[in-house]
């Protein structure tokens, strides 16, 4: 019975493919940690997510500049999905910027774009960055960043050249990460996913 239960409790976490190079690695990371995960298109709706019986949702990076993409409507259904999502959300890179804009913050060109290794300073070792403080090396690849934190959000980490490397909603399980925890060169990237899974199981 316990083994059956164990198998039945496999978490289902679709990953919205926003077009970036590492989106597949997010799904790979979740599956390696025992969840069921797969890429879904950027047109995915909240109804699709409900039909999948998803326990959580992740959204990846992409080549777009967020404000331009919002103006031109090139993000498919992603803006709606992010507004409507009622399960834990992990958004990475430009999805993190989208989350920021949708919740009333702002996104714009970075002070200095980051490509490759970046030292992340943890400001709050809150649930998702549990065990990653005081600093760790992550890999980034971004031209834009969240330049103003949305009101209901808390900053969790920054780097020398990026003001908001990680943030979370103060009440709901909504997370944004500018760096890429899914690439193998990010130290303890796996731990970020494990922390997220703990949030999902809560």
């Amino acid at each position: 019975m316990t083994t059956k239960l164990g198998r039945c409790l496999t978490l289902i976490i679709p990953v919205v493919n926003v077009g970036g190079q590492y989106n597949h690695l997010i799904a790979r990371m979740f599956t390696e940690l025992g969840a069921q995960s797969q890429l879904v298109p950027i047109e995915t709706t909240i109804e699709d997510v409900r039909k999948m019986k998803a326990d959580a949702l992740a959204t990846g990076g992409g080549p777009q500049r967020i404000k331009e993409a919002l103006r031109e409507g090139t993000l498919g259904n992603l803006p709606n999905l992010v507004k409507q999502v009622d399960i834990p959300l992990l958004s990475i890179c430009i999805s993190h910027q989208l989350l920021g804009v949708i919740y009333g913050g702002d996104s714009g060109p970075a002070l200095a774009p980051e490509f490759g290794p970046v030292e992340i300073v943890v400001d709050a070792e809150d649930d998702i960055l549990q065990g990653l403080g005081p600093t760790f090396t992550a890999w980034g690849s971004h031209n834009d960043e969240v330049v103003r934190l949305p009101q209901a959000f808390i900053k969790l980490a920054h780097s020398e050249n990026c003001r908001i490397q990680a943030m979370k909603h103060e009440k709901n399980p909504l997370y944004g990460l500018q760096f890429h925890p899914e690439v193998s060169h990010t130290e303890k990237g796996r731990l970020v996913f494990q922390n997220f899974l703990s949030v999902v199981k809560r």
């Binding site: 239960l5 198998r7 039945c8 409790l9 496999t10 289902i12 679709p14 493919n17 077009g19 970036g20 190079q21 590492y22 597949h24 690695l25 799904a27 790979r28 599956t31 390696e32 025992g34 069921q36 995960s37 797969q38 890429l39 879904v40 298109p41 995915t44 699709d48 039909k51 999948m52 019986k53 326990d55 990076g61 992409g62 080549p63 890179c93 430009i94 200095a112 774009p113 980051e114 490509f115 490759g116 290794p117 890999w139 690849s141 971004h142 031209n143 834009d144 050249n161 890429h180 690439v183 193998s184 060169h185």
Partner: protein
């Protein structure tokens, strides 16, 4: 708790497929949905190939790399001698490589008889005068598949097997670079265009998973642990225009660099060749200032060159095709800074962040006074899956020994650099 159990029971009752699978976008192979099991993977691929090909013949395009060789082993299990292995000698392979691959494949456990098709002149013609990296890649692809199509027809093969893996189509579809072996995923109809149907058993795997399969199939360390070699071969390391003397010099340099770095723990290491033609650019002074400030040197201890030929990078998930810069410190301090590659990578990060047009930063290891036609770049990286890559922290004496040998034995080379750019913002290969 109750909700989850109910949900799972209904899910398991309906089918074994992931609920997400139903809306995977057409043309994108689904990646594996649960943790990777090598034995199951091989079994399922063997039976799928068996049922698709049945009693017909299939041709496999072999390069001698881990992907195509692993693919050959899987398909050989499925259809035996109906598999026809072929290697197209493009002229852009390494010295003696086609013959070496044929010999290695003929030995147990593979025991495959490889047909080599000499097609050097077709490729030289197709690439003649082309400088742009993407145009080179596309010209290479068209030539390659036209020849494969002809040969498949001659041998009566309706199927072409190839070792395309996940990063190939991810990079191609993401617009980073056109990998030559990505066709269907771009909507190219191979049956109409070249006369064969494609079979790609490894299309959902990453490199580290392919190596797991290769070890499981016991195809030999020579293949399973072999460092990757790009599909278009030396085309993408002969930066800019390709022509016989430049290619010849690159082949020689490749041999020396591979030999010199074989035991340094890197996943990929090779030589690249660039022409010594430089831009007289505004960038030079600004980069020079940036370098001297970062390393706290006098500006006259630093010189900067901007190469005329462009290279490929990836910045913020977007293709970046731009400038290659070489940094040269005066001789007495070159070794001191060259001994700390980590610090040089930090310098690189600052340069590629401040100057959007720069995608690669090279650090001069050694040079000769007399001007010559080419510069050679040593590239060496560490990576798990080739999606990101770190610059190998090579000891200075290893780098300077290889540079010394290159300068001593090759009169056409006047400078040797080490590439200090991770991926991102560079890609592993130059083009």
């Amino acid at each position: 708790m109750m909700k989850k159990i109910e949900m799972c029971i209904s899910h398991h009752r309906t089918n074994n497929k992931s609920p997400c699978q139903r809306i995977v976008r057409k043309g994108e192979p689904p990646l594996l949905e649960s943790s990777f099991n090598v034995e199951d993977f091989v079994k399922s691929q063997v039976s799928e190939v068996k049922s698709r090909v049945a009693t017909e013949k299939a041709m496999i395009a072999i390069s001698g790399g881990v992907d195509s060789t692993t693919c050959a082993a899987i398909v050989h299990r499925a259809i035996g001698s109906n598999l026809k292995p072929i290697l197209i000698d493009t002229g852009f392979m390494r010295l003696d490589e086609p013959e070496e691959v044929r010999r290695a494949l003929s030995k147990p456990p593979l025991k495959l008889r490889l047909k080599i098709v000499r097609a050097k002149s077709s490729f030289v013609r197709a690439l003649d005068g082309i400088e742009n990296a993407e145009e080179k890649r596309k010209a290479f692809r068209e030539t390659m598949y036209a020849i494969l199509g002809d040969n498949a027809r001659k041998e009566g093969c309706r199927y072409l097997v190839q070792g395309t893996i996940a990063p190939d189509w991810i990079e191609t579809k993401g617009g980073i670079k056109t990998q030559h072996n990505v066709l269907e995923q771009l909507g190219i109809k191979t049956l109409e265009k070249y006369g064969f149907t494609l079979i790609e058993p490894l299309v959902s795997l990453y490199k580290d998973q392919v190596r797991q399969v290769a070890r499981y199939l016991k195809i030999g360390e020579q293949f399973s642990e072999r460092q990757p070699f790009p599909g278009p071969g030396l085309v993408v390391r002969c930066v800019g225009r390709t022509y016989p003397t430049k290619l010849g010099a690159l082949k020689k340099a490749t041999k020396m660099v591979e030999k010199g770095l074989v035991d340094q723990g890197a996943q990929q290491y090779f030589a690249v060749i660039l022409e010594n033609q430089f831009e007289d650019s505004q960038l030079i002074i600004r980069v020079q200032e940036s370098v001297s400030k970062f390393l706290t040197l006098n500006p006259d201890e630093v010189s900067v060159k901007v190469f005329g030929e462009s290279a490929t990078g990836v910045k913020g998930d977007e293709r970046a095709y731009g400038r290659v810069t070489g940094i040269s410190l005066v001789r007495p301090i070159r070794k001191k800074f060259g001994g700390d590659i980590s610090k040089l990578v930090e310098l690189e990060a600052q340069i590629t962040s401040s100057f959007p047009q720069i995608v690669r930063v090279l650090y001069m290891i050694d040079e000769r006074k007399r001007a010559a036609k080419y510069s050679v770049v040593i590239r060496s990286i560490n990576t798990r899956d080739f999606m990101t890559a770190q610059v190998t922290l090579l000891p200075w004496n290893v780098l300077s020994r290889i540079a010394g040998e290159l300068l001593r034995t090759m009169k056409s080379v006047s400078a040797v650099y080490y590439d200090i750019t991770p991926k991102p913002p560079a890609t592993v290969e130059f083009e």
